[in-house]
């Protein structure tokens, strides 16, 4: 009656073999919070679902060499519950925490949020701002890639047939470093980003920015790294001129669409505002302060 097959392999090698050898469409299942909706709507008609959650290490968070390794299928609620991760990378954690409800948080994963390849994915901008990498397994072996190289368009990734992500890596944190992610939605919870902005900074002891990365979501077909905003931050404190410069840089980097959540002009305006606000939070955190956040 049904031609949809399911496998829950116990090793990454076995999963690669199944995905690479599938005759029709094969889909990777982690938390399923996007995949099952697409299955149900008929938008996707796979022949095989490969559930990765039995693979050792694919769920869990480990601290290593000052950085973090996060299993690709680790649910959002586990990131939120990890105090060390939250202290080092609060922006990454607050981005993931914005994905869906508590029910969704028990299932949604970084790999799923990334590979669903939505321009509005809340988990992705802060990962890119963090210069996070991911481990990819596939028929040709194992490789490491920057997270920013994965999404190449709405719903499209650079992963080849048979490839999937097993783990994400966040680098070690120097002193006076932090990050923040803000998104704008028309209500308080449970909506898709009109704009998302992630800012990751390293300051010196005097509060002057030494390194920065600014990434926007939902304002272009893929996440946008705003180089000009990072340049405007480096060598400066967050004074009025710097804030104006990053606002302008963020606005200039947007190539948004108009849809029911916002117009082009509105998204561009909000991108500038969110970049300023996210930078203020990241700077305050990097100085050791605990800024008030909305959620």
């Amino acid at each position: 009656m049904s031609s949809l097959n399911y496998a829950a392999p116990k090793t990454a090698e076995e999963a690669v073999k199944l995905l690479a050898g599938a005759s029709g469409l094969a889909k990777v299942l982690s938390g399923g919070t996007d995949l099952l909706v697409q299955l149900r709507s008929g938008r996707l008609k796979p022949d095989l679902i490969v559930d990765t959650k039995q693979i050792p290490g694919i769920i869990g968070i480990r601290q290593e060499g000052g950085g973090f390794r996060i299993g690709a299928a680790t649910p959002g609620v586990d990131l939120e519950a990890n105090a060390a991760l939250k202290a080092a990378w609060p922006g990454v954690v607050e981005g993931v925490d914005l994905i869906g409800s508590e029910q969704i948080q028990a299932r949604c994963s970084l790999a799923g949020n990334l590979c669903n390849a939505s321009p509005a994915a809340d988990g992705v901008p802060a990962l890119i701002a963090a210069r996070a990498t991911c481990t990819i397994v596939g028929p040709a072996g194992t490789r490491t890639a920057l997270v920013e190289s994965i999404v190449i368009g709405p719903g499209r990734t650079s992963l080849a047939k048979g490839e999937f992500i097993t783990e994400f890596q966040l680098p070690p944190r120097p002193a006076h470093a932090s990050d923040a992610y803000l998104r704008f939605i028309p209500r308080t919870e449970m909506d898709i980003a009109v704009v998302g902005a992630a800012v990751n900074v390293v300051l010196d002891a005097g509060g002057v920015c030494q390194d920065a990365r600014v990434v926007l979501g939902a304002v272009a077909p893929t996440q946008v790294i705003v180089e000009a905003a990072a340049k405007a931050l480096i060598g400066h404190t967050l004074d009025a001129a710097t804030l104006a410069a990053i606002d302008a840089a963020a606005q200039a980097a947007c190539k948004p669409i108009t849809d029911k959540r916002g117009t082009i002009a509105y998204r561009i305006k909000v991108a500038g505002v969110l970049t300023r606000r996210a930078a203020a939070i990241a700077f305050a955190r990097a100085r050791g302060e605990t800024p008030a956040t909305t959620h």
Binding site: N5, Y6, L29, R40, S101, I104
Partner: protein
């Protein structure tokens, strides 16, 4: 392909069932196991009417395959009461009339039970954020929040207000 044979624990009892890959846990609960308390509202994870607890965490059973339940422990709204003795959440939802049509209620009951298991002393803001994944089109939520606060006091062993 042949059906999957799944062994699981549902509401404290060992349960085995057969299902096809595309059957969600919600499909299995309602159509194979006759546990029709969990409701299908949106079938996309937005409304929470299908909320169940899997290994201590609440999930939308419409967003989980039945076959994924293998080896896991599931609690549905049918498993919240102890025999004829209602859980404080159920009792307070009745007393506070925290429902009108009742379609969303099983999801709210399960989600509230999960909240109070984790945090028996939530603030109103925490209650509202926790329940953001449960939609109710009748009550305007206020009666639900009051019922949750009263149930929380019961769970903490405080005298009823």
């Amino acid at each position: 392909m042949s059906k999957h044979h799944v062994s699981t624990t549902i509401n404290g009892e060992p349960v085995e069932f057969l299902c096809e890959t595309q059957q969600t846990l919600l499909d299995v609960l309602r159509n194979e196991l006759n546990l029709t308390g969990s409701k299908e509202g949106c079938a996309s994870g937005d409304c929470g009417a299908c909320t169940v607890i899997v290994d201590g965490r609440m999930v939308c059973s419409c967003l989980m395959l039945g076959v994924e339940a293998e080896g896991h422990t599931v609690t549905t709204v049918e498993g919240i009461a102890q025999g004829d003795h209602l859980h404080p959440v159920q009792q307070r939802f009745l007393e506070y009339a925290a429902l009108q049509c009742g379609f969303c209620t099983p999801g709210f009951i399960v989600a509230t039970k999960a909240l109070l298991d984790e945090n028996p002393n939530p603030t109103e803001s925490e209650i509202r954020y926790w329940l953001a994944g449960n939609l109710c089109r009748c009550t305007g939520y206020d009666k639900i929040v009051r019922a949750v606060q009263a149930a929380a006091a019961d769970v903490r062993g405080e005298k009823a207000a």
